[in-house]
Symmetry: C2
Subunit: 282 residues, 2 copies
């Protein structure tokens, strides 16, 4: 199996590692806009060979793992060149725009729109880790638009990598993901900003901050090159969630201002219920 991975960072690189160990006969070809990434991926043993985009015509599987602002154009370029038996899938965090843009492509059936809910706050080939996808959810959109045989091949890869599959339409996907992923990133980035602005003396932050703070601002380490395009692509949904979040914070602030600690207590108590939901995640 010839697998070409375009974008050899955390996501693409982790696919490379797992596919190589799960399908030992496979050859991994790597493509990246950044020559340094490619060299590093080669040195780290993540890919077998560097490759150009045009080489997708020889591939059995193409995985596109690049920021969502360049993904659409790139996937069209790939679909333009692939052979009939080639499976192309992506791993991006937004799906509506992409699916719409590909809807009328003559090779649409070669493509499967995927979003593995997996990652860390790090990026680049050195961030790639084995088993990143084990026990993680992989959301597949518009599965009916992908050729049966290629659906089968994709499912085999996903299952052997240990993923749980969930099917969803692209519009619902983008709406849900705005809540459980995109908003968390904004909340974390702005929390980090607020504290950094205040605490000029970093030594103080370092000394006084505990694991709670670290956990809440962990996502503020994420890559702006990856996240800025996500917010752009999913702007309307993100704005909606952000408005609701700001409203909830403002309401909490008003309760605090009028010393309504009974209601503050209740607000927290009602939200405690999130425990039972989170127990299922990691």
């Amino acid at each position: 199996m010839k697998v070409q991975i375009i974008g050899i960072g955390l996501i693409g690189g982790s696919f490379a590692l797992d596919i190589k160990s799960t399908f030992p006969e496979s050859k991994i070809f790597g493509t990246d806009a950044d020559e340094k990434n490619l060299e590093q991926a080669k040195e780290l043993g993540i890919i077998d060979h560097p490759a150009a985009i045009e080489d997708v015509k020889n591939a059995d599987v193409v995985i596109v793992a690049v920021p969502v602002d360049v993904a659409t154009k790139l996937i069209i370029e790939v679909l333009d060149q692939v052979e009939e038996q080639c499976l192309v899938f992506d791993a991006g965090s937004t799906k509506s725009g992409l699916c719409k843009a590909l809807a009328t492509h003559s090779n649409r059936r070669n493509f499967l729109a995927a979003h593995p809910i997996a990652g860390t706050e790090f990026s680049g080939p050195e961030a790639a880790i084995p088993n990143l996808y084990r026990n993680k959810t992989n959301i597949i959109c518009e599965v009916e638009k992908t050729a049966f045989k290629l659906q089968e091949r994709a499912l085999e890869i996903f299952q052997r990598l240990g993923m749980r599959i969930r099917y969803m339409d692209p519009v619902s996907h983008d709406r849900h993901i705005a809540y459980v992923s995109h908003l968390s990133h904004i909340s974390s980035f702005m929390l980090g900003k607020t504290v950094l602005e205040k605490e000029r003396n970093e030594r103080d932050i370092f000394d006084l901050a505990g694991s709670g703070f670290a956990s809440t601002v962990r996502l503020a380490k994420s890559s702006p090159a990856m996240w800025s395009p996500i917010f752009q692509e999913n702007k309307e949904n993100v704005l909606e969630t952000l408005n609701e979040y700001i409203n909830n914070l403002t309401h909490f602030k008003e309760l605090l201002e009028k010393d309504d600690f009974r209601e503050i207590y209740k607000e927290m108590q009602r939200t405690n219920h999130i425990k039972s939901i989170l127990n299922g995640i990691n």
Copy 2:
């Protein structure tokens, strides 16, 4: 060494476990407003004997680990009864009001105001764990007001439990902690609330949420009985941080509304710098 711990939850119980293993000759007496907690602490082997508040007159060390709204009154009650050689310290997340209230107490020198930056999102005796305090910062306020010999005893306990000590005045403590701890809790609770309100179908949250979401809302599992009084005690500082946080989120929203993704990128890039600070925590 007779150690009486008032409030046998996560914080008090974890002190009990470590003191018992570090000072094997010590006897741990437990006091709690909730009879069930006491029984459970006894069953779990966290305390040797239940005790009443009045028993503090026989104690060498008294640790007060109760919500901050009842701590002040309770510490006064304890100080009223302790012998000259008894060390009393607390572990509360707010310090200004407490230190002011105790300033003129005739036994002020028996008291040491402490705040170990340690904890988890869980509570109660069953949440108590060994080594909770290892490599954690312990902030001590107004150390000069504690008797020399009792400072020494406290430092010995803190050092043998593996804590790093940092001295700070109570007003600075409350201001700094509002940023690196109290605000994180509000941000997390309101994020949890926003998502719960939207996603009536919990199964969807569970399936789509990844470790990033889990990390950002982890603190929303925290105890309202502990946190509502903290927000009350530190109201002015918390309001200030909350205002700045809401302003930063609103600014981000405005950038999004006017499609200024260059500036959104820069905002995130500037905050990425928090990486180097967080590397020191955990």
